[in-house]
């Protein structure tokens, strides 16, 4: 059957494990971390088995509505990666599969997998879901946190990969063979197969990545939050589903008891986290503060009149842009953040409202809420113990995977690596970069077998459309409710059908879902489309996916245009549905107009210079350089100082207790001794030319000037400690920074002997208008130093003056230990900072610190020997120059800005340039190490290739029109244009390999002889004309009459 053959060709991976069950790497867990690990490792030339126990890949991220702090749609940014995995020739996805046993050693593991029966033959299922429609058994839907019902046979969620149904235990046939409706509905396809049994499969791999993710804390177990007993108490993950357009009520926030919009909602922080009571977790779950703020912002967007109270402990806004995000939530009208301990009181028997009791300065208060959201923390994955046993890895006391502080993605078993939240509570970017880091180390371990099992992607031959008239297909996406709730999608589709050369129009719920993308491909073939317009979201994220769909359908990928009716329309005009619908029609009309003129283009393959340049010789830079060089690629490491080490030269111990100096010395030695690393100290970059695969960087090192040719670059130029300008710093020798204190402790400085009392002041120089961010490391730094001091001086008085203690993750345990060991904590407000002055009484010099005590309500006077300032971490010197050299952006705070805060944490938007360490944002040593491995891993996915693909959208000269004025040549600093002698005289000619497609020359050319392909003048003219077509019809006849 032809359709089947096409389907098999489209779907490159085999649904059942093919060939000889021989692979390179097993990735356990198909959440965002596992997906990233699989993609990186597969792209670097290894065959990957991606195994998940769930019926689809996607993990927890697929259940989230939006991601903070950008409020990106979580599924929208994750699901293109599902398809990327699905289409990757080196990834074999095995869902609904458990792991039973692992034998062997690094380089040669034998893994026993058990494929659970789906009772659906994946090869025969088309994902049509007719079986779901007719199935009589309704069961709570796990994807929607059991808040809505699904059927015993269903697809896990609409973007699932693989997009096939599965039958769960509630099936009547499985119970007592009393129903076979699904079988009859499926009919000839015969995809329903009740004869399936668990299938055991042995695979051989060289290495393993464990990325099983986490569980959310279950408040039911302890029962003190009335979760499970009061209907209107939900967890934050439940609330994510309530918010989501694909959730139980299609994005309407309806409370469970009466399915009505709640107008008064409470969020309770730290549920299951930062607790020493049995059943709770002592650590901080690291993500709840920010996700709660996100939920508040979104809930206010859904229900503008909503009243929200957030009961919190410290607000931990410790990552990039989190502080601003918190401020955004806090400033919303009707939103109140209350620092208080709470308990859940009574449920009103009639209204089912819930009373919350909370402590205030004026005593205990009570307030009634229509809905209560529990900001639940992160637990180790349910199977952690089992994993530990099967894989032979150790767990830490908190029940997560035990790792090596000097290399946090390493487990206790060689060849088995870990990534994501199985390492401990973490946010998406950390889950992504630990995956890339694990990928890099696996590539090193298995470097001798790179490329042996990998395959190239195969596309069908491209259809010759030269003789065809334009046949445009328009696909209008609802994006769940993201577009559909605002824009009248059927009206837009109907309108599109009447546009020039449009022969096919279709609406879709999610154009990016695997089945839709595949269906679009089939429609292109069936209808013979040669132009495709997708009216959906931004081309900046989804164009590659749809271009690939065109290639799979045998049509040139440049016959594609995206009409952005989401970011530029439904999301920014969400209160004006009619206006948004009109605008969406305009946008589609413009896109269809442009599509008529699109031309098929070929792409260029440019060779890659397999040399890397790492800028910055701190721990991050050195680690990245070593990781790249260890895989046999020549690496240049630039350091502006005369010595390697960066800020780590001043560090002596980490919060986890690692001695930094021996580690640093070892790292330096490895770098200096490495055959493939060239270290250039006292180095300064003069200029950077070129592009991905072929950079040319001029460096002044000492007195020598040299040019380094390289294919990739890693920016790791670190950060610096602020020199405070307050609290008497620089005036009195008794005022130090935390780093200075650490140096003295680390070197056993004698000046410490005289110190018997210390005040530490947090947030010095940050969390203020001119530096509106939290420096992330200072709270843990203060704990670490306070505990060291305590060790040295059991009787010393130690005070920490803080605004919020932000010891996120496992570092919370340090905070508790410090408090238990008599370190005294006093909170101050930003507008009532402590006062510090040098004093002398009765011949004794000391520092006098005055601080308001919020508990006692009066000024405290602390006379101490020393004041230690937790000074902000600020961007590195020369960040702006470096950013301009490499054409990469800086964030508003002056740190380097990664390509995407969640999913591309160590990439830049500019290809071939990567980022790690504190240059991105302040971070702890272990986090810098992880990022360094990750940046190296990302660089290695490129270095593993022989060529990079350059866009076909380059400039071209119509010789007949060229008047040899040279205007194009002078403006092109890429030197992509030259004169060439022709029979008709000297004419400009473009070297497409050097052309970067900016199209500047086109705007300079007086005769229009040079043009940028894909963005031609004619196409722009059509877009302008199309945009203004209604204006032309309306205005022209009316206006002259006005005169």
């Amino acid at each position: 059957m032809e359709a089947m053959a096409i389907k098999n060709m489209l779907r490159q991976r085999t649904l059942s494990p093919g060939d000889n069950h021989l692979g390179d790497v097993l990735v356990v867990g198909g959440g965002i971390s596992g997906i990233q690990a699989a993609l990186d490792i597969a792209t670097a030339g290894f065959k990957v088995y991606l195994v998940d126990k769930a019926p689809t890949i996607g993990g927890k991220m697929s259940q989230l509505d939006k991601t903070y702090p950008t409020i990106d749609c979580s599924m929208c940014i994750e699901s293109p990666k599902f398809i990327e995995c699905d289409r990757h020739p080196n990834i074999e996805i095995m869902t609904y599969t458990d792991i039973e046993a692992v034998e062997g050693a690094a380089g040669d593991f034998t893994v026993t997998l058990v494929k659970k029966p789906r009772y659906v033959n994946a090869d025969a299922c088309t994902g049509c879901a007719a079986c779901t429609e007719y199935c009589p058994v309704k069961v709570p839907d796990p994807f929607n946190q059991d808040l809505s019902l699904n059927k015993a046979v269903h697809i896990y969620f609409s973007q699932a990969v693989p997009l096939v149904t599965y039958i769960d235990d509630s099936c009547l046939y499985l119970k007592d063979k009393s129903c076979t409706i699904c079988q009859s509905v499926c009919g000839e396809k015969g995809a329903i197969d009740f004869t399936q049994t668990p299938e055991k499969i042995n695979i051989k791999v060289g290495a393993v990545v464990l990325s099983p993710g986490y569980e959310t804390f279950d408040p039911k177990i302890r029962g003190d939050y009335a979760y499970g007993t009061y209907e209107n108490v939900v967890t934050s993950l439940d609330f994510e589903r309530l918010l989501c357009a694909t959730g139980p009520h299609e994005g309407q926030i309806l409370r469970p008891s009466d399915k009505k919009h709640p107008h008064k909602v409470a969020w309770l922080h730290c549920v299951g986290s930062r607790q020493v009571v049995p059943g709770g977790n002592t650590y901080c779950s690291a993500v709840c503060c920010a996700y709660t703020q996100k939920q508040v912002i979104l809930a206010k967007d859904h229900v503008p009149e909503l009243e929200a109270k957030i009961f919190h402990n410290d607000i931990r806004a410790y990552s990039k842009d989190f502080e601003r995000f918190y401020q955004r939530a806090e400033r919303l009208p009707g939103v109140e953040f209350i620092r208080s301990y709470v308990s859940v009181g009574d449920e009103d028997p009639v209204t089912k409202n819930v009373t919350i009791r909370y402590a205030t300065d004026q005593g205990v208060k009570e307030d009634e809420f229509e809905l209560v959201v529990l900001s639940v923390g992160i637990n180790p994955p349910k199977d952690a113990q089992k994993f530990a046993r099967i894989f032979g890895v150790e767990l830490n006391p908190q029940g997560f995977c035990k790792t090596d502080p000097a290399n946090p993605v390493k487990t206790s078993r060689p060849g088995v690596f870990v990534s994501g939240a199985f390492m401990g509570p973490m946010d998406i970017p950390e889950s992504v970069y630990t995956a890339s880091g694990a990928g890099a180390q696996i590539a090193e371990l298995l470097k001798s077998r790179r490329g042996q099992l990998s395959k190239k992607r195969v596309y069908p031959e491209e259809r010759d459309t030269r003789e065809e008239a334009p046949k445009v297909g328009v696909f209008v996406c609802r994006c769940g409710a993201n577009i559909g709730r605002v824009v009248d999608v059927p009206a837009v589709a109907e309108y599109a059908a009447g546009l020039e050369n449009v022969v096919h129009v279709e609406e879709s719920l999610f154009a990016c879902a695997t089945n839709t993308a595949q269906a679009i491909g089939e429609t292109i073939r069936e209808k013979g489309l040669n132009r495709v317009v997708i009216a959906a979201c931004t081309p900046r994220s989804h164009e590659p996916l749809f271009r690939d769909t065109l290639r799979e359908a045998g049509v040139n990928q440049y016959f594609f245009d995206m009409a952005n009716i989401r970011e530029h329309c439904s999301w920014v005009h969400s209160k004006e549905p009619e206006v948004a619908t009109d605008k969406a029609k305009d946008i589609v009309r413009m896109s269809v107009a442009r599509a008529q003129l699109l031309q098929p283009l070929g792409e260029y393959y440019l060779p890659i210079n397999k040399t890397a340049l790492v800028v910055g010789g701190g721990v991050a830079g050195m680690t990245a350089a070593l990781t790249i060089a260890n895989q046999g690629f020549e690496t240049y490491l630039l350091e502006k100082n005369s010595e390697l080490g960066g800020i780590a030269r001043r560090l002596h111990y980490t919060a986890e207790g690692m001695a930094v100096q021996p580690f640093l010395n070892d790292l330096r030695k490895k770098v200096y001794q490495h055959r493939d690393i060239h270290v250039l100290t006292d180095a300064e970059i003069v200029s950077v030319d070129g592009y991905v695969g072929n950079f040319s960087t001029r460096v002044k090192a000492g007195r020598r000037d040299r040019v380094i040719e390289h294919g990739v670059a890693v920016i790791a130029i670190g950060a610096q400690e602020l020199k405070p300008e307050e609290y008497g710093y620089g005036e009195s020798a008794r005022v130090l920074t935390q780093l200075e204190l650490e140096e003295r402790i680390g070197t056993g400085d004698a000046s410490l002997n005289a110190i018997e009392s210390v005040v530490m002041i947090q947030c010095v120089g940050c969390r203020q208008p001119d530096r509106n961010y939290c420096a992330r490391v200072c709270c843990s730094g203060a704990m670490k130093n306070a505990l060291k001091l305590r060790e040295m001086k059991p009787s010393a008085e130690i005070y920490v003056l803080f605004r919020d203690i932000r010891t996120y993750g496992f570092k919370e345990d340090l905070y508790r230990e410090a408090a238990n060991r008599d370190v005294r904590f006093i909170r101050y407000e930003a507008d009532d900072k402590p006062l510090v002055e040098a004093a002398n009484e009765s011949g004794r010099d000391f520092m006098r610190v005055l601080v308001s005590d919020p508990v006692l309500g009066k000024k405290l006077q602390l006379d101490v020997d020393s004041v230690v300032l937790s000074a902000a971490v600020i961007p590195p010197e020369g960040a702006l120059t470096m950013a301009r050299h490499f054409k990469v952006p800086l964030s508003p705070d002056g740190f380097f800005q990664e390509a995407h805060v969640k999913l591309r944490p160590v990439d830049f938007a500019a290809e071939g340039v990567y980022l790690c360490g504190t240059a991105q944002y302040p971070k702890h040593l272990s986090e810098s190490l992880n990022q360094a491995y990750a940046a190296a891993g990302r660089a290695l996915t490129l270095l593993a290739q022989d060529s990079v693909v350059a866009s076909g959208s380059v400039c071209e000269v119509e010789e007949r029109d060229c008047v040899s004025c040279g205007a194009c040549i002078t403006c092109c600093t890429y030197n992509a244009i030259d004169f060439r002698e022709t029979p008709r005289g000297k004419k400009a000619v473009v070297n497409p390999v050097l052309c970067k497609g900016d199209g500047l020359c086109s705007a300079k050319c007086p005769t229009g002889a040079i043009g940028l392909k894909h963005f031609t003048n004619e196409a722009v003219f059509r877009q302008i004309d199309a945009a203004l077509a209604p204006r032309q019809q309306r205005v022209i006849p009316i206006m002259p009459a006005r005169n």
Binding site: Q897, C965, S1002, I1036
Partner: protein, 259 residues
């Protein structure tokens, strides 16, 4: 048109790397702004041809917005946003000359991280548009008249590009230097004689092509120019063989004899 009925349309040329991404971020962040903007994505703001701007107005746009990366932060090596700035300043002078309020053209730098700034800029643009009204209103001119002028400018774009290259390039490009150049009276004089006069002459020729022959007084009235000014232009055109002057009456010459 009643003010409440007026729904401005602004054509936006946004560079892919910064401003378009900033607009995306505004969307992701759900910042609300009015619906006047129709976006045409370009890879670089420097790609925005003066003709794109003029054609937008010709087709009835009430405004044009060019959005690029911050100066110094262009994604491309040739720093195309300086070219965008140079072109925008030239276009504004030309718009002013032909009687279109230059505020209708707005150029702004918005980085990929500045969703707020993008939304704020659009709010400002909308306010400007509501203040100016539809194209022609603040100008006090019928659209047909402005279109005629815009067509004349479009015909001259190839020439303007040549002049730009020969005369208006800065050795050291900075925002300050561009403003300095445009504030310089000497520059204004060159610009007038090399660009604006040529546009006026193009407009005169345009009228003449419709009517075969026209009196200088009529042309002066049509363009609200001093008759002596019109005669000066007609003399130049006659000298170049574009027309014949019979006293104050200008007659069109067939193109073939123009050489």
């Amino acid at each position: 048109m009643a003010a409440s009925d007026f729904k401005p349309v602004v054509i936006g040329f946004l560079c892919n790397w910064c401003c378009y991404a900033g607009a995306d971020l505004a969307g992701v962040s759900r910042f609300q702004y009015p619906s006047h903007l129709r976006v045409i994505r370009q890879m670089c703001s420097g790609r925005v041809d003066i003709e794109f701007v003029m054609r937008s107005f010709l087709q009835g746009a009430d405004g044009v917005f060019v959005g690029g990366c911050h100066l110094g932060d262009c994604h491309y090596n040739p720093e195309g946003n300086y070219d965008a700035l140079g072109n925008a300043m030239i276009a504004k002078r030309i718009l002013q000359h032909i009687g279109i309020r230059p505020e209708r053209l707005r150029i702004e730098w918005v980085s990929a991280g500045e969703g707020t700034r993008f939304a704020e800029t659009q709010n400002e643009i909308h306010a400007t548009m509501m203040q100016l009204g539809p194209l022609g209103e603040a100008e006090g001119q019928p659209v047909a008249f402005l279109r005629e002028a815009l067509q004349a400018v479009i015909n001259m774009v190839p020439y303007i590009k040549l002049v730009e290259r020969e005369r208006f390039r800065l050795p050291h490009r900075s925002e300050e230097n561009y403003h300095k150049m445009h504030a310089d009276p000497e520059f204004a004089a060159i610009f007038e004689s090399m660009v604006l006069d040529k546009i006026t002459q193009s407009r005169l020729m345009g009228r003449l092509r419709q009517a075969e022959s026209l009196a200088a007084e009529d042309l002066a009235a049509a363009f609200a120019l001093a008759p002596t000014e019109v005669m000066r232009h007609l003399d130049i055109l006659a000298e170049r063989g574009m027309l014949r002057l019979d006293g104050r009456l200008a007659r069109l010459l067939p193109v073939a004899t123009a050489a």
